[in-house]
């Protein structure tokens, strides 16, 4: 079991290394002059050369990537060029391990950028996953047990209708009508728990998280419905009924248990992806999360930030997959690992 988990972690780390390398290469394949972009439009040729040295853009790609990988493990000092560091020690920024780089565009390390932006994306993802799982599974079960009825058709049809609306439409609708016109809720501004307490944090997350959750709701309703129906058609359900169990025990203890496996997989993947930032929702609500940071840094050709985000988002996905695999072993004894 633990050997299996360790193996998965090692594979995950290798995967992330490959991911960062691919991102590096992709950026360098682009025709943009990194140093010029990092330095700014008014820079002279000499200033650009200094920036190039400071950020290491004068070195070949593999060397830059090796320096980056080393920084992740051991930490790094910026500017990269030693002569520059010695000439002006007051400008040196130390980036402790795991160092993801230094963004000239933002003027700070990628680590501190992510530290600022990630909590917002994580908060959004956590509240959203709770919302869509709760309502998705609940409605899915309700649809499954009333299969073919008006309720079933209503649930499936309505969630599909919601699914058909793009996220930016729902988000803007919430803001324009629910908040501004009808005044049902206060305008949401991200409030950390440290400032507003759990309640303040949560009330400000309602609308953006709901917007995000609605995207996933339809597919979770349909999946839950399908999995529960499939499970209820199994022979062991007939056995459970033949034992004299009541229908609640048959559904929840026997039926739902088997439907859990695919649901856990899907949730793990979706949640992992979402932790890396919800670009549209964050843009609509102007929530400075990783999604917004992705957009800004990509537009600015800010390579270190983009690589950092890709790596962080990748780590979330890899981590969630490992958790899902381990969760399998707890759910299904047939995959219990020796």
């Amino acid at each position: 079991m633990w050997a299996y988990a360790a193996r998965r972690v090692v594979i995950g780390i290798l995967l992330l290394l490959a991911l960062s390398l691919v991102t590096f290469i992709l950026f360098f394949a682009s025709p943009a002059d990194q140093a010029k972009l990092a330095c700014g439009k008014q820079c002279t040729q000499a200033q650009i050369a200094v920036t190039e040295k400071a950020l290491g853009y004068d070195k070949p790609v593999y060397e830059q990537w090796a320096g980056f990988a080393k920084g992740v493990v051991a930490g790094r000092d910026f500017p990269i060029d030693q002569a520059q560091r010695e000439a002006a020690p007051e400008t040196v920024t130390h980036c402790a391990a795991p160092c993801l780089g230094f963004s000239k565009y933002y003027g700070e390390t990628v680590n501190s950028l992510i530290k600022d932006y990630a909590p917002i994306s994580i908060s959004l993802a956590v509240v959203a996953v709770v919302l869509w799982l709760f309502f998705g599974v609940l409605l899915g079960i309700a649809a499954a047990v009333t299969k073919g009825s008006i309720l079933d058709r209503g649930i499936v049809g309505l969630t599909l209708l919601v699914y058909a609306f793009p996220t930016f439409f729902i988000g803007v609708f919430f803001l324009k009508y629910v908040v501004v016109k009808w005044g049902l809720l206060d305008y949401p501004y991200y409030t950390p728990i440290a400032e507003g307490g759990v309640w303040g944090w949560l009330t400000n997350l309602w609308l953006p998280s709901l917007t995000l959750a609605l995207v996933f709701l339809a597919s979770y309703v349909r999946m839950t419905r399908a999995f529960v129906l499939e499970s209820l058609g199994e022979d062991y359900i007939r056995t459970a009924k033949a034992k004299g169990l009541n229908s609640r025990a048959v559904l929840f203890k026997h039926g739902l248990r088997a439907a859990l496996t695919p649901l856990v997989t899907m949730t793990g993947i979706d949640f992992g992806t979402l932790l890396g930032g919800a670009i549209i929702t964050e843009s609509v609500f102007a929530y400075p999360g990783l999604g917004l940071l992705t957009v800004q840094s990509s537009q600015a050709w800010d390579l270190p930030t983009v690589v950092g985000i890709v790596l962080i988002a990748g780590s979330f996905v890899v981590l969630m997959n490992i958790i899902v695999d381990i969760a399998y072993a707890f759910i299904d004894p047939r995959v219990r690992l020796g």
Binding site: D235, Y236, A242, L245, S247, P333
Partner: protein, 357 residues
């Protein structure tokens, strides 16, 4: 009063009267079971035989009330100890399920939940009907596992179904079915998924347990060998109806209905003449949506021309006592099935047997 007591004594333990199970579908009404009647006493075994889709499983599931909550229309009467099961409400029926009436299913691997231990699943069956602690239930389950011949039952309690062999799983299913000492056990093809040696063990086990607990057993099968070994009475089903019903020995040695002859012909006989032909029943099972007119077996019956006129195609024969006596019922228009069987069928399927006489 005295007369009543007398009546009760005569009343069989299980009495199924004119049972109908119909499924409305988009294409029309499927009459899976259409007017089935039989009776069974404690300690006795009834073997229900028929090919797939003849209504044998459907009619037995109706006894357990497993069609409740589906769109099936169930009519008739099922009297268990004088109580009409079809008149009970769902809660009352649930109390009988697993307690008075238990069922063993065909494929024990899919009939057990893959995520729970075998012991837990059996204990669950016990605790539904007995308010006991988990520990007491565990002790009871281990006793039961031992009774059905599972070695190291205290260790095996915590195994999962996939860690059991096929025969072990079926033994565990039997333990689950018998843990509440049911008075009626329905075994739906209990040995179909097992190899032959394990089949024999499972059948022996069922017989021993029946003797011990005086259980009435309905065994559903398409294997006449199983019926011959296990059952006291045999009931042959075709297209949702009984076509022949009587003591096992009677039905197997003096079958009165061409369909039963067909079933007997299709049994391979390992002790018999290797040159004897194994004759399948010609044609396909009938559609239950639009069953053939008259006798449902007529399109496949090779003896149809021995019946005068077009009786077979126009009129459904009644299930009536055959020429051999009151307890042996048959549903066939043939006037003298016995002589046809002796003179035409036996020489074809068992030439050596025919020569002996």
């Amino acid at each position: 009063m005295e007369q009543n007591a007398h009546m009760d004594e005569k009343q069989p333990f299980l009495k199924v009267e004119n049972l109908k199970v119909h499924f409305p579908t988009q294409d029309g009404l499927v009459k899976a079971t259409d007017g089935l009647s039989y009776a069974l006493d404690r300690g006795q075994t009834l073997g229900i035989v028929g090919e797939s889709g003849s209504g044998k499983s459907v009619s037995s599931s109706a006894i357990l009330g497993l069609h409740r909550g589906t769109n099936a229309k169930v009519e008739g009467r099922i009297l268990l100890d004088g109580v009409d099961l079809l008149a009970l409400n769902n809660a009352e029926m649930r109390k009988l399920r697993g307690k008075e009436i238990a069922m063993i299913f065909q494929d024990p691997l899919s009939a057990m939940h893959p995520y729970y231990t075998v012991g837990n699943q059996i204990a669950e069956a016990y605790r539904v009907h007995h308010k006991v602690s988990k520990k007491a239930a565990r002790t009871r389950v281990i006793d039961m596992l031992e009774l059905v011949g599972i070695p190291q039952p205290d260790v095996r309690f915590d195994s999962y179904p996939h860690q059991f062999s096929g025969g072990m799983r079926q033994r565990a299913m039997i333990a689950m079915a018998l843990i509440n000492d049911p008075s009626l056990l329905i075994a739906d093809e209990p040995t179909t998924a097992l190899d032959v040696t394990v089949q024999a063990q499972i059948l022996d086990l069922l017989q021993n347990l029946q003797r011990e607990f005086n259980t009435a057993i309905i065994i559903i099968t398409h294997d006449l060998g199983v019926v011959a070994e296990m059952a006291d009475e045999a009931l042959v089903m075709y297209a949702g109806r009984a076509v022949e019903h009587g003591r096992v020995k009677e039905v197997l040695t003096h079958p009165q209905m061409p369909y039963t002859w067909g079933l007997l012909s299709s049994v391979p006989d390992i002790t018999g003449d290797p040159n004897a032909r194994m004759v399948p029943v010609p044609g396909n099972p009938p559609s239950l949506l639009s069953p053939p007119t008259g006798c449902a077996f007529h399109p496949r019956c090779v003896h149809r021309d021995k019946v005068p006129g077009d009786l077979c195609t126009t009129e459904l024969p009644d299930l009536v006592p055959g020429p051999r006596g009151g307890l042996h019922l048959k549903r066939c228009h043939l006037a003298d099935p016995e002589s046809i069987y002796q003179n035409e069928v036996i020489p074809e399927i068992a030439p050596d047997l025919a020569e002996e006489r």
